[in-house]
């Protein structure tokens, strides 16, 4: 099979026996493009007047994909409708079969993949991409590399390889990198195996990269690369979705899945990279990338995927000097100036003395006289009246900008919004056509309370004829809780504006960070050298802390979602491994946590039920007497410090004993241990309470010891 697959990839043509499958995750699972994505899924937002997903599909088609599943969550119906109307489904001839998978309840990539697994759609190795990839890459080499690992004959056979991440060589501060989501890949150059993955938000600036020491044992040399553009193109083996279902808490492809796989030694899977340096690949995750990728397309880096290739059969663009692309029936006034890197959709009219540079203008737009458009993206049917100035902003379909209005850097104006006349929108204003939903359906619990800093702008005047509502950008549902990371990622962001409403501490260091943010590409080494033994003490301490925190979260989640003990245990082990924390730490966390589950209104029954279920969990993390003693100490302390828990102590002790979580002599040792006596009055009180139980135990013991004697 693999050999045939090989030929097949070589010729890029299609034989029936093994179809190449691809999965497009149409949804971004974040709110970067709000309010635009509130009405239109990101993958349908036009990039250079072509819906984003067209690029992705084209890319997959070039790479010879035959079966594409689009996992749609938000606006699934829109996506479905689009695909059905698009050339891909029309083409009776096309060897490409596209199916839209409607998965409305997914909240993350993880969910989507679990969904996929549930439906059992994936039958072979498949390409996993976001719905926002722009690339002219031909994946056959990467695919071949991936498959050859499965093959026994090839040089680098590795049966455990489950994924190949396709990465593009760039440089640390390359415009096409996702600002605020850069990440460092630690790669073994000889095999391209990825041995470590580290996300690198610029804020708070990571000064250090912790690499598990044993990696150095396993690999002769490793490279830490902070110069890679990660277009999130992954070649995955069949088992990947399954893995997601096993680890139900994995949300993100990189920060959870990749990290999880790389750090867990129980999974024993490996992940590889394929680093391309000739072809183009980038994805549009945020407005800043929207800008840079659009520019790359206009500047022809994505060739042959450029406007005059007319991905959509409907439009016909003419390329001319200075990267100017004109659609049909474009009416340019005699006096207007069209400068470099401009695309103008068909039927658009540009008035006298207007100036357009580095911009994309959609179909059937009306642009009045003396308008200045610079680095802006106007979508279809936009009306710009006379004397308007727009700088590096996005204006969505059917929006109307009335006379003498100015949009400063980074504004986003949503569908059908009307602005002006004669107002000036400040930087990074976002105007939606609907009011911003009070609790954004993206927000989960730990979302964006620290955002108040930038809500200052919320009373912006849209002009007396203005319609639409100011949106203030909420953070993401992912845990980068430093909003500056979002700001960095926004269109036309310049670092000077960074110190918006943040507490001084951050400002001071952000200043320094700006310094080295703007300096050029010698980041790699500073990330590269990682081993600071002298610091490792503090380091360890801090790590334990956060490990415990994570543990609490996961436990509480387990309680909330009624996981089985096994799952919870697995999860805990996972965490423990990743943070290589000790069991003691684990117990420190879970014992109290479990006790807290008891509702104190009717303590007796509830504690019974709770411990019935979760006692065993404690069991799983206690091996040997000492641990048991330790458990008891924890229990004692915990029950001691809240007096309504006092009465829980004995039952708990009892139940634990019944469940054989703790054995007699552990209890004895606890009882006799002087530690148990010195834990403060209330604790000792509890100990005394236990005396009865101890007595009983001892008697019981003697009895059966007697029996033994006989």
């Amino acid at each position: 099979m693999p050999s045939r697959a090989k030929q097949k990839q070589a010729h890029g043509d299609t034989d029936a026996d093994q179809v190449l499958q691809a999965v497009i995750l149409s949804d971004s699972f974040n709110s970067r493009f709000m309010p635009l994505t509130y009405e239109k899924p990101r993958c349908l937002l036009p990039v250079c007047n072509v819906p984003l997903i067209e690029y992705t599909i084209e890319f997959l088609a070039i790479s010879g994909a035959q079966e594409i599943f689009i996992v749609a969550t938000m606006h699934a119906e829109q996506i479905k409708a689009y695909i059905e109307s698009s050339k891909w489904s029309k083409k009776n001839s096309s060897s490409l079969h596209i199916e839209v998978v409607h998965a409305s309840e997914c909240l993350s990539v993880g969910d989507a993949l679990r969904e996929l697994d549930a439906r059992q759609l994936i039958t072979t190795d498949f390409i996993l991409v976001g719905g926002d990839v722009v690339s002219n890459m031909k994946l056959d080499k990467a695919l071949e590399a991936h498959r050859s690992r499965k093959r026994s004959d090839s040089k680098y056979t590795d049966k455990n390889a489950i994924m190949t991440m396709v990465l593009k060589e760039g440089s640390s501060y390359h415009p096409s990198r996702a600002r605020g989501e850069e990440s460092v890949f630690v790669v073994d150059p000889s095999t391209n195996e990825c041995v470590h993955y580290e996300p690198m938000e610029p804020f708070p600036r990571k000064k250090r990269l912790d690499i598990n020491a044993e990696i150095f044992e396993r690999h002769a040399e490793i490279e830490c690369r902070n110069d890679l553009i990660d277009p999130l193109i992954d070649i995955c083996s069949v088992e990947v979705p399954a893995l997601f279902s096993e680890n139900f808490d994995w949300q993100h492809l990189r920060s959870d899945f990749v990290r999880g796989v790389l750090t867990s030694d129980i999974l024993g899977k490996t992940i590889y990279t394929y680093i391309s340096n000739d072809s183009y690949a980038a994805r549009i995750q945020n407005s800043q990338q929207y800008d840079s990728v659009s520019r790359d397309i206009l500047k022809r880096w994505t060739f042959p995927i450029v406007p005059e290739t007319n991905l959509q059969e409907s439009d016909i663009y003419q390329y001319s000097r200075g990267n100017i692309y004109k659609g049909t029936r474009v009416m340019l006034s005699k006096s207007c100036i069209i400068e470099d890197n401009v695309q103008i959709g068909s039927g658009t009219v540009v008035g006298e003395n207007s100036r357009v540079t580095n911009s994309v203008i959609g179909k059937n737009c009306k642009i009045g006289n003396n308008v200045n458009i610079e680095g802006a993206y106007l979508w279809d049917n936009v009306i710009i009246e006379d004397g308007v100035a727009i700088k590096r902003s996005i204006v969505a379909n059917d929006a109307v900008i009335l006379t003498n209005t100015t949009l400063d850097n980074g504004c986003i104006v949503s569908f059908g919004v009307k602005i002006g006349p004669s107002v000036a929108l400040p930087k990074y204003t976002r105007v939606g056509s609907q009011p911003q939903p009070k609790d954004d359906y993206f927000d989960d619990e730990e979302e964006s309370d620290d955002e108040e800093g930038d809500n200052a702008v919320s009373d912006i005047d849209l002009g007396e004829q203005g319609t639409g509502y100011i949106w203030i950008d909420k953070g993401d549902n992912d845990e980068d809780n430093d909003p500056r990371n979002l700001k960095v990622a926004s269109l036309a962001f310049d670092l000077k504006d960074l110190s918006v409403g943040k507490e001084q501490g951050d400002d001071s260091d952000s200043a320094s960070e700006i310094g080295d943010l703007s300096d050029s590409d010698d980041e790699r080494d500073s990330v590269g050298d990682t081993w600071h033994p002298e610091q490792s003490q503090i380091l360890a301490a801090r790590k334990v802390e956060e490990f415990k925190r994570e543990l609490e979260q996961s436990i509480s989640r387990a309680f909330a979602e009624q996981h089985t003990v096994e799952l919870a245990a697995l999860e805990i082990t996972g965490l423990r491994m990743s943070a290589n924390g000790s069991y003691d730490d684990v117990r420190d966390v879970i014992v109290p946590a479990i006790i807290n589950q008891v509702d104190l209104s009717k303590p007796m029954p509830s504690i019974r039920t709770v411990l019935k279920k979760w006692g065993s969990l404690i069991g799983k993390v206690t091996h040997g007497k000492d641990d048991q003693v330790h458990v008891l100490h924890i229990l004692q302390v915990h029950c001691a410090d809240k007096e309504q828990l006092h009465k829980l102590f004995l039952p708990a002790l009892r139940l634990l004993y019944d469940d054989d979580v703790v054995e007699e002599d552990a209890i004895f040792r606890w009882y006799n241990s002087d530690r148990s006596k010195q834990l403060g009055p209330s604790a000792t009180a509890l100990r005394d309470k236990a005396t009865v139980f101890i007595k009983w135990l001892q008697e019981a013991e003697e009895e059966d010891s007697d029996e033994d004697d006989e």
């Binding site: 009776n92 001839s93 060897s95 440089s171 500047k299 590409d521």
Partner: protein, 401 residues
């Protein structure tokens, strides 16, 4: 769509490959176009020539729209149109219709699988055709030009005076014998021509290269390679190849030439002027030749040609007839295509490429005054005569598809 499903599929794949530039090089393109068109003739149902012509024109428009810079597509389409018209005017002797006809029937049978089979099975019948006229192939092609009557369609001027409406012969006349005849013509006139192109040009090599010459060339052109190789059989001479950055096709070329035992020297593009003083002929290939005798060729050709002109060194252009296009260089940029600048300045130069504007045009336009001679597969001609060749090959009505 009038096309049969299978054919439609074939067309679609061809178009998308054109768009993705997975198929480049005018030869491949021309050949596939010809094959597709032949299939159109054979598989689609058309009652009379007008219909057929319309179908072909529409298809031609689609194909050339897919990759407007590949002029070969349009050229082949025009050739086919011309052939059809000629056939209709009954200006072609109708011999061995039967066998080719039958061979076509079989072709119809196959035509619904993808182009590999098609190519080879068409190949098969070229073989048969070549078999049946191997000996007269050369002169058949040679007298092909005079054989073809011209005066009929060229100029509306002429029609002013002659009383018969020669330009609107009613093609709508029901004509049944036509199909096999047309197909046969396409096979002989176009596809067979394509087969013999390189040979036809290479055969003239000795007429243009004398002993101990120093010849400069640029880029990789199979035509030129064969031309020089053929000459190398009889005469020994040196070749200097400009490496043709950024694609470095020149280096490929050099390797190929050296492999067949020609003394080859690779120079940087920048050294062309410096070395030109040693060169006594420049031989280059072309991507397309325009009606005014100018040509679209690999980037750097203009530079070489100009340097040659300054050293009064003759410039030969080896080009097959199917590269002749009736279009004119309305705008120099029109036929150029800018490919990804990656080869010029690596994408990883992030901060740099963001600010500077990097260009990487793939072709170059060489004005006719820089060319001394075109060597094509049926002979050779000065640039001023190119328009004539074009009139011979295409019907002036079809210039705009």
């Amino acid at each position: 769509m009038v096309l049969s499903k299978a054919l439609e599929a074939h067309v679609e794949s061809f178009i998308s490959r054109l768009k993705r530039r997975q198929i480049v090089g005018s030869y491949e393109v021309a050949k596939e176009t010809a094959i597709i068109l032949r299939q159109v003739v054979s598989t689609t149902r058309w009652s009379d020539a007008t219909v057929l012509i319309q179908i072909i024109k529409d298809l031609g428009r689609r194909l050339s729209a897919a990759q407007p810079k590949e002029l070969a597509v349009g050229n082949i389409v025009r050739r086919v149109l011309k052939i059809i018209k000629e056939v209709v005017r009954g200006e072609l002797e109708t011999d061995d219709i039967m066998n080719s006809g039958t061979s076509e029937e079989s072709d119809d049978g196959f035509s619904d699988d993808d182009e590999e089979d098609n190519e080879e099975d068409s190949d098969r019948e070229f073989k048969s055709i070549l078999a049946q006229d191997t000996n007269d192939n050369a002169d058949h092609t040679n007298d092909a030009i005079p054989a073809r009557p011209k005066l009929q369609t060229e100029s509306s001027m002429f029609n002013l005076l002659v009383d018969q409406h020669s330009d609107n012969v009613d093609y709508s006349a029901k004509s049944y014998g036509m199909k096999p005849l047309i197909i046969q013509e396409i096979n002989e006139e176009i596809i067979a021509d394509l087969e013999t192109v390189y040979k036809g040009i290479a055969d003239q090599a000795l007429e243009h290269i004398h002993a101990n010459e120093v010849i400069m060339t640029i880029g990789y052109s199979r035509t030129v390679k064969d031309f020089l190789t053929k000459a190398a059989l009889k005469r020994n001479f040196q070749v200097i190849v400009a490496e043709t950055s950024p694609t470095l096709q020149g280096q490929e070329m050099a390797a190929a030439l050296a492999a067949v035992g020609i003394e080859t020297t690779v120079i940087t593009d920048s050294a062309v002027y410096a070395v030109m003083s040693r060169v006594n002929k420049v031989v280059i290939g072309a991507h397309a030749v325009l009606a005014n005798g100018g040509l679209v060729a690999v980037t750097g050709s203009q530079m070489v040609a100009a340097a040659a002109k300054h050293h009064a060194t003759p410039v030969l252009v080896c080009t097959a007839l199917y590269k002749l296009s009736p279009l004119f260089p309305y705008d120099i940029d029109l036929f150029n295509v800018c490919v990804t600048p990656d080869q010029v300045l690596s994408f990883s130069e992030g901060t740099l490429i963001d600010k500077a504007d990097v260009q990487n045009p793939y072709y170059d336009f060489v004005a006719p005054e820089f060319v001394n001679l075109f060597v094509h597969n049926l002979g050779s001609a000065p640039p001023s005569y190119v328009y004539r060749l074009i009139n011979d090959n295409y019907d002036s009505e079809d210039t705009i598809l």
